[in-house]
Symmetry: C2
Subunit: 372 residues, 2 copies
C-alpha cells in the first residue's frame, strides 16, 4: 500500500487550526484572518500538501473531468487535432479530459459511455457518435453531450462544419484555373447512412455540391469521374489503398481528368502514390486538392486542401459542454463552422491551357511533364 498522502488534517495540525480554516485558505473564500492565512500557507508549503481532487469531487458532485469519445485517433490526424483542441480548452478551464477510441465499434462505444458514467465525468463529447442508444444512456444519467462534426441525434448540442461551402471553394478554385474534367474521390453516401435528423448526410452534401458546381460552370458531370468508397480503409502497412486504386483507375480512362478532388488528405496520399508511379507531375500534369488540411503541408508537392476548422471545432465543443454543465436546463445549441481553402503547390491551370494550338506550347507541355 502506498503511504498515506498529506491531507487537510495534516496541514491543520501543522498550522494549529481546524480543517475548515485550511479549506478556506486553499479555496480562497470565506473570512480568514491575515495572520492565520500566512500561517496556513506556510504549513501548506512545509507539508507539501496537494488537495485531493477525487475527494473534492465526491463532495461537490463535480469531477472537473470530461470524456471525449473518438472514432480512432490513429486513423487520421484530423482526430489528433480535434482531441488536442478539446483538451487545450478544457485545461484552460480547469478540466481534464478522458479519451476513448471506439474504432467504429458500437460495443466499444458503449463501454466508453459506461466507464464515463462510472467515473462521473461532467460531460461527454463525441467525435463521432456511433450509436444513438449510447447517447441516450448518457442522457438518462443526466450528462451533457456534445457531438462534433456528425450529428447522430438532435437532442444534444453539436458543432458542425459547413461541408458544401468547403466543396464549393475547392471546385471554384479548380474551375477558375480552367479545369473542366475534375474527378471526385470521396465517401459513398450508401456506406455512411445519415441520421434522420439531417436532410442529407455529409457525403451527400459533398457529392451534390461537386455536381452543382460543375453544372453552374456549364460542365456536364461525367459519372466516370466520380469514385466513391470508404474514407478510411487502410492497407496492411497503414497506407491508403482507396485513393491509390481510384486514382489508377482514373488514369486508365480514355480521357483522363486534369484535376482530382479527394475527400480527405489521407486519400490524397494514395492518389499521390499512384501519380508518382505513373511518373506524372503535380500540378504540371494533373492538379490535386485534398480535404481536411492535415497531411497537406507534409506531402510533395504541398497540397492545396480544404481546411477543417479543427481547433475551433474542439474549442467550441468544450464551450458548449461547459455551458451545459453550468446550466443543465439550458437548451442544446448547434453551431456550424466554416472551412476555408488553403492554396499551396498542387494546383495550377491544366497543361496546355495556354493556347494549345501554338507550337511553343508543345515545348512547354514537355517541360511541364518532365519528371527528372
Amino acid at each position: 500500500m502506498r503511504p498515506r498522502s498529506v491531507t487537510l488534517l495534516d496541514v491543520a495540525r501543522a498550522a494549529g487550526v481546524s480543517r475548515a480554516t485550511v479549506a478556506r485558505v486553499i479555496n480562497g473564500d470565506g473570512y480568514v484572518g491575515e495572520e492565520t492565512r500566512s500561517r496556513v500557507e506556510a504549513a501548506v508549503q512545509a507539508t507539501g500538501y496537494r488537495p485531493n481532487v477525487v475527494a473534492r469531487g465526491l463532495r461537490t458532485q463535480r469531477s472537473y473531468t470530461i470524456g471525449h469519445i473518438v472514432l480512432e485517433i490513429g486513423a487520421n490526424p484530423f482526430f489528433t487535432h480535434v482531441v488536442r483542441a478539446v483538451e487545450g480548452e478544457a485545461l484552460a478551464n480547469g478540466y481534464k479530459t478522458f479519451l476513448f477510441n471506439h474504432k467504429g465499434n458500437t460495443a466499444d462505444e458503449r463501454l466508453a459511455v459506461e466507464s464515463f458514467i462510472e467515473r462521473r465525468v461532467d460531460a461527454v463529447i463525441f467525435t463521432y457518435a456511433q450509436d444513438a442508444a449510447n447517447i441516450a444512456l448518457l442522457r438518462a444519467a443526466a450528462m451533457p453531450v456534445v457531438q462534433i462534426e456528425r450529428q447522430r441525434t438532435g437532442d444534444t448540442s453539436a458543432v458542425l462544419v459547413d461541408n458544401p461551402a468547403g466543396v464549393r471553394m475547392a471546385m471554384r478554385h479548380l474551375i477558375g484555373l480552367g479545369h473542366r474534367r475534375i474527378a471526385f474521390i470521396g465517401g459513398d453516401p450508401a456506406l455512411y447512412p445519415h441520421a434522420r435528423i439531417q436532410p442529407r448526410s455529409i457525403e451527400e452534401e459533398r457529392l451534390d455540391t461537386y455536381r452543382d458546381c460543375l453544372r453552374e460552370a456549364g460542365i456536364d458531370p461525367d459519372p466516370d469521374l466520380v469514385r466513391l468508397g470508404r474514407y478510411i480503409k487502410l492497407g496492411a502497412d497503414g497506407s491508403d489503398s482507396e485513393g491509390y486504386r481510384h486514382t489508377r483507375d482514373l488514369l486508365a480512362l480514355a480521357e483522363r481528368p486534369t484535376a482530382l478532388f479527394v475527400g480527405t488528405d489521407m486519400l490524397a496520399t494514395g492518389a499521390l502514390q499512384a501519380l508518382y508511379e505513373a511518373r506524372l507531375r503535380v500540378p504540371d500534369d494533373i492538379a490535386l486538392v485534398g480535404f481536411d488540411d492535415t497531411l497537406a503541408p507534409h506531402l510533395a508537392p504541398k497540397l492545396t486542401s480544404v481546411a477543417q476548422p479543427m481547433a475551433e471545432l474542439g474549442l467550441t465543443a468544450f464551450q458548449l459542454a461547459l455551458a451545459a454543465i453550468e446550466d443543465p436546463r439550458s437548451a442544446p445549441r448547434v453551431v456550424t463552422l466554416a472551412p476555408h481553402l488553403v492554396v499551396r503547390q498542387s494546383t495550377a491551370p491544366p497543361s496546355g491551357s495556354t493556347r494549345p494550338a501554338d507550337p511553343p506550347a508543345r515545348e512547354g507541355e514537355i517541360a511541364s511533364r518532365q519528371t527528372v
Copy 2:
C-alpha cells in the same frame, strides 16, 4: 445541480438488503445467498445503477487511472501511436489514462505532474520526461514512474529503444545496395543534452553508429554529408522545414550523396519536398531511408524506414507501471526493445551502379529505376 445519481443505498432499498450486500454482489466477492444475489441483480437492473468509481477510489486509495505526460501528440505520429498503445493496454487492465502535452515546456510539465498528484493517479508515464525535478515531485508523492524512450533519471522504470541497432540496419541496407556517399540528417547532440545516467545521448548513439558503419565498410565519413539540427522544427503551416533545407544544401554539393538517411519520417517529408522540387526521382536518382515508420507508408514513394516498436513501447511501459503499482517496493526495471527495418520503395542501388561501362547495363539500370 445535476439530479443525484443512483447509489448503493437506492439499490439496497429496492432489493430490501443492506448496502454491504449490494457491494458484495457488485464486486463479486464475499458470501451472498443465491436468492439474495438475483434479487440484488434485478434491483441493479431496475435502478440502472452504476458504481461511482470516484467514491470507490477515495475509499480504496486507488484511482485505476494513470497519467501519461507526452512531449506533444500533434508534433509527430510517433506520439499518437505510443499514446494509443499505452491507452489500449491500460484499458485491457481496467485503467483509464489521462493525457497531458507539455510541449517541451518544463513549467507545463510541472503543471501536469501537479494535476496528476491532485487526481491521485496510480502511476505516471513520460514520453518524454523534460525535467528531473518533476520526476522527483512524483517520487516524493510515492507515485510509480515509467520513462519511455528517453531516460532522464535512473531511479524509475524505463522502456528504451536500441537506437544503434536501428541505425546499423539502415546503413547496412544502403551500403549493401552499393551506396558509398550516404548523407545523414538528424538531431544535433549539442541540442539534446543527455542525462548523466547514460554514457551517450540518443543523438550521439545514432551519429556514432552512422560513422562506425561507414568505416566498417571502408568508407571515410565525409563531414559535408552530416547535417544536424532539431528533429522537430515546424514551419508556420506545420510542414517540416529542417529536412527540406538540409536536403537542398546537400543537393547543391559538388559531389552529391546517392542516399539520404534521415532521423525521423517527419524530416523525410521535407526531404521529399526538396527532391520533388529538384525533379529528382526516389529511388532512381537518390535513395531515402526514414526513421520511426510513421508517415513512411503514406509518402510517395513509400518510404523504407527504421520502425520503432511503438506498440511494444506503450504496452511494456504500462506493464512496468502496473508492476510498480502492485508492488511499490519492487526495484525499477529498464527494458530495451529492438527496432526493425521496413524496406519499401525508396531504396535501390545507386544509379550507374551495375557495371556502368557495359552497354546492356544501361538497360538494366533503367529497369532498376522503374517504380511502376
